[in-house]
């Protein structure tokens, strides 16, 4: 950093300190009377929560398919073939047992943007589902892939375990690893910039299918 840059830093900090001198240095606890505050990881999942999650996904025109853990590969292949989506990118760490024949699975070993642009879709696991908002949370580990993987393709097939679905945002935050990147997806991209008409799918995948796995998902 240049000398001028360093002095701006000091100048700004000094201004802030002077401005805050005498201002109550708030040590009071933040009032957290909102729903789900102080959640811990051990909150039991309920069928109602999963049903709400599915309902909210439907509001976004996402399709939801219920499967058992050992049906993932077959169901995925069935959905993809029916939609004529034959070339599917996957994170390199996505379980091989999820990849059935009949589809070309392209593992993401630093695929170029153009290559990602050319596939028919992407399939990943997920970290969490949030029922109230119909959100899916990814933290981009080996089974979820780097961020651009779920951005450029036009279709995303996401495998979410029922045990990964929480109801509220505070419950979700109790489970998210703050040291890793996070992306929340809540419906396809949208804009209402032209005459407040909501148009779906500006950038990012326009189509989302969710495989809701009804058994506790073992970490791959």
């Amino acid at each position: 950093m240049s000398a001028a840059g360093r002095s701006s830093r000091e100048r700004v900090l000094e201004r802030i300190r002077k401005a805050n001198f005498g201002a109550a240095r708030l040590q009071e606890p933040i009032p957290r009377a909102y729903e789900g505050a102080g959640s811990d990881r051990g909150h039991a999942q309920s069928a109602e929560v999963v049903a709400l999650f599915e309902e909210r996904l439907h509001d976004y025109d996402a399709r939801v398919f219920h499967v058992h853990q050992d049906e993932i590969a077959a169901k995925a292949a069935e959905i993809l073939k029916a939609a004529d989506r034959r070339r599917i990118a996957v994170p390199a760490g996505l379980s091989a047992t999820w990849r059935a024949d009949g589809v070309e699975w392209i593992a993401d070993h630093e695929l170029s943007a153009d290559a990602l642009n050319a596939v028919d879709g992407v399939m990943t696991a997920a970290t969490l589902g949030i029922a109230v908002s119909g959100s899916i949370v990814l933290q981009h580990g080996p089974t979820e892939g780097r961020r651009v993987l779920t951005l450029l393709p036009d279709y995303h097939l996401c495998v979410v375990g029922a045990a990964q679905v929480v109801e509220t945002l505070p419950e979700a935050f109790a489970r998210i690893d703050p040291t890793r990147p996070v992306t929340f997806f809540s419906g396809p991209s949208a804009t209402a910039d032209i005459e407040m008409t909501r148009i779906k799918g500006v950038h990012g995948p326009r189509f989302l299918d969710v495989l809701l796995v009804d058994v506790l998902l073992a970490q791959d």
Binding site: M1, G5, S8, R9, R11, V12, L13, R15, I16, A19, N20, A23, R25, L26, I30, P31, R32, A33, Y34, E35, G36, A37, E110, A113, D114, N117, V132, S133, G134, H140, R146, R147, V148, L151, L169, P170, F173, I176, P178, T179, P181, V182, T183, F184, F185, S186, S189, A190, T191, A192, D193, I194, E195, M196, T197, I199, G201, V202, H203, G204
Partner: protein, 489 residues
């Protein structure tokens, strides 16, 4: 002197600079005559307000969320130096670089230096009020760098040579025919229809080419997280995710007030922000990360922390709550004044109630002095603010700052309003003087007016009332005269 250009269709595009913008009443006078604008503003604000109200009604803990959000933002501001330093340390530990800009000019210089080091002649941008505040695009253009806006609304404004009129829906003053005309002309699509789907598809294609090619991106940030050195980008379209994953270098320009203490504080703000801004339980995409993520996204990550008057706002005991703002725009949607004028009349990138208090404070009350008066103090903004900024309280306080500045000037002795206020203060100080003033006013009325007829015209400032409204004559007897006559005392 502000530059006003009249576009085909009669819509003007103004430079939104509080140092040169006309006073609010003058700018409003023009915009009030734009029937297209007024219709668009009402439709947009009614739509979001309706959706917001429905979602708030279903949330029994909404007030608890507001209380928590306000406390989180207050705590951040009260300990701002500490949290900024914590952010800086964590962000740099994650491979990012932090720069500090005391002023808009300095921020622009820092950005340009980075771009010159990268030999970047063009950049892609995510919508950022902060970059609009510092005039980044214009500065870069002057120095040979093209900045491509990638938010649909900002794209419309940029290609059409216009300015934002709302925090969240910046192009709400444009209708589909206007957008079609802009796209057809600038994208070379003469057969483009004005259907919003077609327009959006055209923008998607136009922008994808840029996303895949341009190596440097500039963004703002909704929040910085001290605890993790994190940046949070809240968006709907996906262009944000494009800009923060595809390029090799990303520069974020962020106001110093945007920092929040803890990662978990987002569990509050990500509930109140989307509901307040777009009337959704959650917006389509939120991205949170720190520094450089190995093998995923830009290899070079810069944050430019911007002061540009914010530390000065912090000094004002009443005004500092302005910095709690999370830029949701709910106050604009609720404001009955904004409803009539749209955003351009405020002469600043920050319009509506938050603009009326933020802009003059950032200018140290030297400019935009008409903005604190651009309000009927109805309080609708305070009611909807997710972080409980008492905007009416700040408005009234800023008015006293404007008046106090004026007291020191010679010109104030000749000011009609000041003279009237001083006279009224003396009259109200003593009830006998007050009674006498009441009688004097009635006597004065008799010299110009007879009978019970209402005034259709009055001279001077009072004439502004009678331009559109009648005024009843003073009654023949005041209440206290009636009371006295009754024989009570």
């Amino acid at each position: 002197m502000s530059l006003v250009q009249i576009e085909p269709g009669g819509h003007s595009s103004r430079i939104l600079d509080p140092k040169t913008a006309p006073p609010f009443p003058d700018a409003a006078k023009t915009d009030l005559r734009d029937t297209q604008l007024r219709r668009n503003v009402v439709r947009a604000t009614d739509t979001i307000q309706g959706k917001r109200a429905a979602l708030v009604a279903e949330k029994s803990d909404w007030q608890a969320l507001r209380d928590a959000g306000a406390a989180i933002r207050r705590e951040a501001l009260a300990n701002l130096d500490r949290y900024l330093l914590e952010f800086e340390q964590r962000f740099q530990a994650a491979g990012g670089t932090v720069h500090w800009a005391a002023s808009a000019a300095e921020a622009n210089r820092i950005v340009l230096q980075i771009l010159q080091r990268e030999a970047a002649s063009e950049i892609i941008k995510i919508k950022s009020m902060t970059t609009a505040e510092i005039g980044l695009n214009e500065y870069l253009a002057q120095h040979g760098v093209a900045a491509h806006e990638t938010d649909l609304a900002e794209l419309i404004l940029q290609l059409g040579g216009d300015q934002p009129s709302h925090i969240v829906v910046p192009a709400l003053h444009k209708n589909r025919q206007q957008v079609r005309e802009i796209f057809a002309r600038t994208m070379g699509l003469p057969d483009l229809s004005d259907d919003p789907e077609a327009l959006t598809a055209a923008a998607r294609q136009y922008l994808r080419e840029k996303f895949l090619r341009v190596k440097t991106a500039i963004c703002g940030a909704n929040f910085l997280i001290a605890e993790t050195g994190g940046i949070t980008i809240v968006e709907s379209e996906g262009n944000g995710r494009m800009c923060l994953t595809l390029p090799e270098t990303l520069i974020a320009i962020v106001g110093i007030e945007k920092v929040i203490p803890r990662f978990a504080d987002l569990e509050v703000l990500l509930q109140t922000l989307p509901r307040s801004a777009t009337g959704e339980r959650m917006n389509p995409y939120n991205s949170i990360w720190s520094g450089v993520v190995p093998g995923d996204g830009p290899k070079k990550m810069h944050v430019v922390l911007l002061d540009n008057g914010r530390s000065r706002v912090l000094r004002d005991a009443i005004g500092r709550q302005t910095l709690q703002c999370i830029r949701c725009g709910a106050c604009q949607n609720a404001c009955p004044v904004y409803r009539q004028t749209g955003g351009h009349a405020y002469g600043s990138v920050y319009a509506g109630p938050i603009g009326a208090i933020l802009t003059p404070q950032l200018e140290d009350m030297r400019h935009a002095q008409s903005l604190p008066y651009a309000s009927s103090l109805c309080g609708a903004c305070y009611e909807v603010c997710p972080v409980k900024i008492n905007i009416p309280e700040v408005l009234v306080h800023l008015r006293s700052r404007v008046v106090d500045r004026g007291r020191r000037k010679l010109a104030s002795f000749f000011d009609q309003e000041r003279a009237g206020m001083m006279a009224m203060a003396a009259v109200f100080a003593n009830h006998r003087r007050y009674g006498a003033a009441q009688r004097l006013a009635r006597i004065g009325q008799r010299t110009i007016h007879h009978g019970e007829a209402w005034y259709h015209w009055l001279p001077g400032m009072a004439g502004r009332w009678t331009e559109t409204r009648d005024l009843a004559p003073l009654p023949q007897q005041t209440f206290r005269e009636w009371w006295h006559q009754r024989g009570r005392s």
